[in-house]
């Protein structure tokens, strides 16, 4: 005989009266601190401090210590010169160009590259991007993320931003997939599933795929254009909130409240953090490394066969006219479809050759962020959404890129920097 819902609650009521005793409820210091972190007046300063800690740790761990401290030396001063000297062929040889160094034209002469950002070979950039830069960024990110998660801060951050996110049809919980996406968009897209309605999931996936740069990308940005990174984040955040607001108005459906449990603060368990870090990082590497190397190969082949020049000629006017970026950005935009980190690295290469203004670098990095999700995210979206929603996401994405990209160009013209 199954019980009805009411009978079951009635039974539970009787059981708990028999077994549970509540003492006089008294707040502990821990409760009081927990309260401080969710009330807006005190919670917002705390959040500002926590994010400061997150970001400084990220920069110093990934940038100062590993990438600049050791990896740049290893790759630029030892690995690249060594390969340049022992790999058969030499500058101009197609296989050499694909695997080691494509070189670039300076004053009409083909010269060798100095850095692994410029060289663009499968064995140089293809290894430097994932192992020299991105790996450390991702480890730093997931380490901090796991700590915040296990300490119990993340759900409180969600409670804190609940009100703001309601305005764009999302719930405070959305901060979790958003934050997770700052590591990698793929698990971010998966993390939208507790959102209750299809509308919320659709909004969240679309916004994530468009406006949230992944850890790999941030790592490279931090290495290449640290002085622009504040502006880039600001631009993306405005886009996220602005387009969220608009999409919420035009997409039909409801956005109900999601009741969320907030666990108490606790000491994180080392083993739990280590295992999370390991699972997330190793998954990331499995996806990233083959795609980066494949990306190098495809872009290299497109240069060799002249396909890239043809595309640059075709799309150049559109890129220059609408977005204000040079035709050469075609190459990073194509690579960006495979891996965003690789693509930002290519912009770094273009920068070093001195063919872009600062504003063009800024615009193209933002464009890279928003113009298309990387292949892995794309596949994830296909799995998570039905066809109609998927096409909807793509359509909104194209619209957002053109509107926002054009807008940025316009603002640049008005400020006189474009």
């Amino acid at each position: 005989m199954p019980l009805s819902v009411d009978e079951r609650w009635d039974l539970i009521d009787k059981i708990s009266k028999q077994t549970v005793t509540f003492g006089a409820y008294k707040h502990t210091l821990k409760d009081a601190i927990a309260e401080l972190t969710v009330k807006p007046l005190t919670g917002i300063p705390v959040a500002i401090a926590v994010i400061y800690g997150f970001w400084s740790f990220f920069c110093d761990f990934a940038g100062t210590l590993f990438t600049d401290g050791f990896m740049v030396k290893l790759f630029d001063e030892h690995w690249l010169p060594w390969l340049q000297s022992v790999f058969p062929g030499g500058l101009g040889n197609p296989l050499y160009a694909l695997m080691v160094d494509a070189g670039h034209i300076e004053n009409g002469v083909l010269v060798a590259s100095d850095t692994c950002f410029e060289s663009f070979g499968v064995l140089t950039s293809g290894l430097f991007v994932p192992f020299g830069v991105v790996l450390w960024a991702v480890v730093a990110f997931y380490l901090m993320f796991a700590i915040l998660e296990d300490v119990g801060y993340l759900p409180r951050l969600a409670v804190l931003v609940d009100t703001i996110l309601h305005k764009i049809g999302l719930h405070g919980y959305a901060i979790v997939p958003t934050f997770l996406s700052l590591g990698c968009n793929v698990p971010g897209v998966t993390a939208v599933r507790p959102l209750e309605t299809r509308k919320q999931r659709f909004l969240m996936i679309t916004l994530l795929a468009v406006f949230i740069p992944c850890g790999a990308q941030i790592g490279i940005m931090q290495d290449l254009v640290p002085e622009l990174i504040g502006w880039i984040f600001l631009t993306l955040a405005i886009g996220y909130l602005g387009f969220g607001f608009i999409l919420n108005k035009i997409v039909p459906g409801k956005s109900p409240e999601l009741v969320m449990d907030v666990p108490p603060y606790q000491m994180p368990m080392l083993r739990n953090i280590a295992s999370k870090l390991w699972i997330r990082t190793s998954r990331f590497l499995l996806v990233a490394v083959p795609f980066v190397m494949l990306g190098c190969l495809i872009v290299g082949l497109m240069y060799l066969t002249g396909a890239m020049d043809w595309l640059a000629a075709v799309f150049g006017p559109l890129l220059m006219g609408w977005f204000g970026v040079p035709a050469e950005t075609v190459a990073p935009l194509i690579a960006g479809f495979l891996r965003k980190d690789l693509a930002v690295g290519m912009i770094g290469g273009l920068m070093e050759q001195g063919i872009m203004t600062t504003f063009q670098v800024f615009t193209s990095v933002v464009l890279l962020c928003i113009y298309f999700p990387c292949l892995a995210t794309f596949v994830m979206m296909l799995k998570e959404e039905n066809w109609k929603e998927f096409l909807g996401s793509i359509a909104s994405l194209v619209a957002m890129v053109f509107i926002y990209g054009g807008l940025i160009h316009l603002v640049g013209i008005m400020l006189g920097v474009a």
């Binding site: 009521d13 209750e196 108490p264």
Partner: protein, 187 residues
Amino acid sequence: MKILLMGHPNVGKSVFFNRLTGAKVFESNYPGTTVDFMKGWMRIGGEDVELIDVPGTFSLEPKDKAEEVSVEMLEENQDSVVVCVLDASKVERGLYLALEIIEKGYPVIIALNMWDVAEDKNISIDTEKLERILGVPVVPTTAISGEGFKELVSRVKDAAPVKIEGIVTSVAASVRSTGGGESAAVS
């Protein structure tokens, strides 16, 4: 035999899972969905037993995709023992899910997790009495510090299906013996 780990979201289930299994855990994908769950092995009485961390669910009437998967996983594993993880400071809420699972005829063992939090909040639970009423093993645990896990593992063998009618009768008996009012232990 398989063991399913079930409970509300945020009752410390993933730490719980980590406490019970060895280093080798697998994250798998539930076929046809993007819901992931963890799978690992634990040793009970010298025997390797598969442990599945079912996605958190509030009840067996699913409200979202992840909850649907939880219910399906329960139904697919008819021969398993269910370890039901409850938040000890919110026992009533967790008991609802536990009773639903008991009604479906699964052998259940209840873990009153976050026991330390309940203590912080001056909530005390008479676990022996709860065990007598329900007829299933009840063990207080604190996943973060590992307290209670040894007992939990040793008591998995005691889990057996019980009839809901039996629970209804034993509650009634218990109410009669304490005079029907609030628990006698109110201080």
